[in-house]
């Protein structure tokens, strides 16, 4: 039996050091994180500077303009202050998701702690910038205008709960999508090898899960992009709250 969970195992390559009693290890996850950073660095810094871009340069410029337009449409021109952060988030999640689809690789964003850390980064940025820019007016975020006084406390309570559950939904969405997608892929792929071991009939029967695996890989490619985009656009929407809290 092929274990569909094994692909999420962290394996220590060497120990970096200790914080207190806790060992800090350089793991396969670390390697794939650095790989994603390297891929992004090589892509963006290695792209040409031609007036008429080639294929490679076009890809880089398309991702630049894609993220820039996402920020402009959902957080306004002021949101461009956070362009480096949002671009880093999008590219990091997108590249590591895409790398994760390659068989035998590790998917960084299939671990809740990673996605949660990224979501908390956005959450703290929103809170810190919100208070820095708006001061106490930032609390207006929890008080929608045009609400009758009678139900106002209830609405404020709901707004506060929804605000503080943001990092959870933000991170679990990405984590769960990547995890579920990879488990499904692995399960169907393992059917191929299991059926293939059962002689001729099994080999013919294995064609069905094989086709499904191919189709799922295509779907996962889409999910890899889509989840990176969803994470990015939610980041922009949350940042918009910090920039314009009175909604």
């Amino acid at each position: 039996m092929i274990d569909p969970i094994e692909q999420f195992d962290l394996t220590k390559i060497f120990t970096i050091g200790h914080i207190g009693n806790q060992e800090i290890a350089f793991t396969n996850s670390t390697a794939y994180m650095l790989l994603a950073v390297a891929v992004i660095a090589i892509m963006t810094l290695g792209a040409g500077r031609q007036l008429v871009p080639g294929r490679f340069q076009s890809v880089v410029e398309l991702s630049y303009e894609f993220v820039a337009n996402t920020i402009r449409t959902s957080a306004g021109a002021e949101g461009m202050k956070f362009f480096p952060l949002v671009f880093s988030l999008f590219m990091f999640i997108f590249v590591s998701n895409i790398v994760g689809i390659i068989p035998y690789t590790f998917t960084v964003s299939s671990h809740i702690i990673v996605t949660f850390a990224l979501a908390i980064l956005v959450f703290l940025t929103v809170i810190l910038y919100g208070f820095y820019k708006n001061g106490l007016k930032f609390f207006k975020l929890f008080v929608p205008s045009g609400i009758p006084v009678v139900i106002l406390p209830l609405v404020v309570l709901i707004e506060i709960i929804s605000f503080f559950s943001r990092p959870i939904s933000h991170s679990v969405r990405l984590f769960a999508n990547m995890l579920a997608g990879h488990v499904t892929l692995k399960v169907f792929a393992s059917f191929v090898t299991m059926l293939g071991a059962l002689g001729f009939v099994g080999k013919v029967g294995a064609l069905l899960p094989l086709g499904l695996t191919v189709a799922l890989t295509a779907l996962e490619l889409m999910v890899a992009f889509l989840q990176a985009y969803v994470f990015t656009i939610l980041t922009c929407i949350y940042l918009n709250d910090a920039i314009h809290p009175g909604h």
Partner: protein, 189 residues
């Protein structure tokens, strides 16, 4: 399923092993023992990425895009300028052409008038000279005719005198011959 590979997995992978020891539950994303390693890794990787992106990548790519935007705008402005220039040149050409055409028409009309006047004058003088010549010719014809007529009378009188002398054998009376000739001439006329 996660529990099933506990034994060999732990032996093979140190991190899994120490995770299990510190209260992980087998399912890798929930092995809390791996969290510090992942958080530190993410911190290092993401800070490195942020620095690369904000210091190097975005200024570079943004600069290229801005430069292209500027180049396009400059080219468009240049094209507009050239278009305006050519339109102005066309307008100047057309107005010049129109001016030249009216000038040519004026010159033509003037030349036509001049020529007409000259030919009229020439014809008039020709007609005048012809009329004068005709008059002179008529006059000379008339004088010639009168001279001829008077000669005819003398010749006729002489011939009549000679005829009479031949017929009668004596010289005719000059005066009566002349009277007869005159009468005959008048009758002929």
């Amino acid at each position: 399923m996660a529990e099933s590979h506990g034994g060999p997995q732990e032996a093979a992978h140190g991190t899994t092993a120490h995770t299990e020891a510190e209260g992980g539950h087998g399912f890798p994303p929930f092995q809390t023992g791996t969290f510090p390693s992942q958080l530190v890794s993410l911190l290092i990787a993401f800070v490195a990425l942020y620095v690369i992106v904000s210091r190097l990548a975005l200024p570079k790519v943004g600069g290229v895009i801005d430069a292209r935007q500027k180049a396009i705008e400059n080219d468009l402005a240049e094209a507009q300028r050239l278009k305006d220039d050519s339109e102005a040149a066309l307008k100047a050409y057309e107005s010049e052409l129109a001016a030249a055409r009216t000038r040519a028409q004026a010159i033509g009309a003037e030349a036509r008038e001049k020529l007409t006047a000259a030919s009229d004058a020439e014809r008039k003088s020709l007609e005048d000279s012809l009329a004068a010549k005709l008059d002179a010719a008529e006059k000379s014809i008339a004088t010639t005719r009168t001279a001829a007529m008077s000669n005819v009378r003398t010749i006729a009188a002489d011939a009549a005198g000679a005829i009479v002398q031949q017929l009668t054998g004596k010289a005719a009376n000059g005066k009566s011959v002349q009277a007869a000739v005159d009468a005959s001439l008048k009758g002929a006329a």
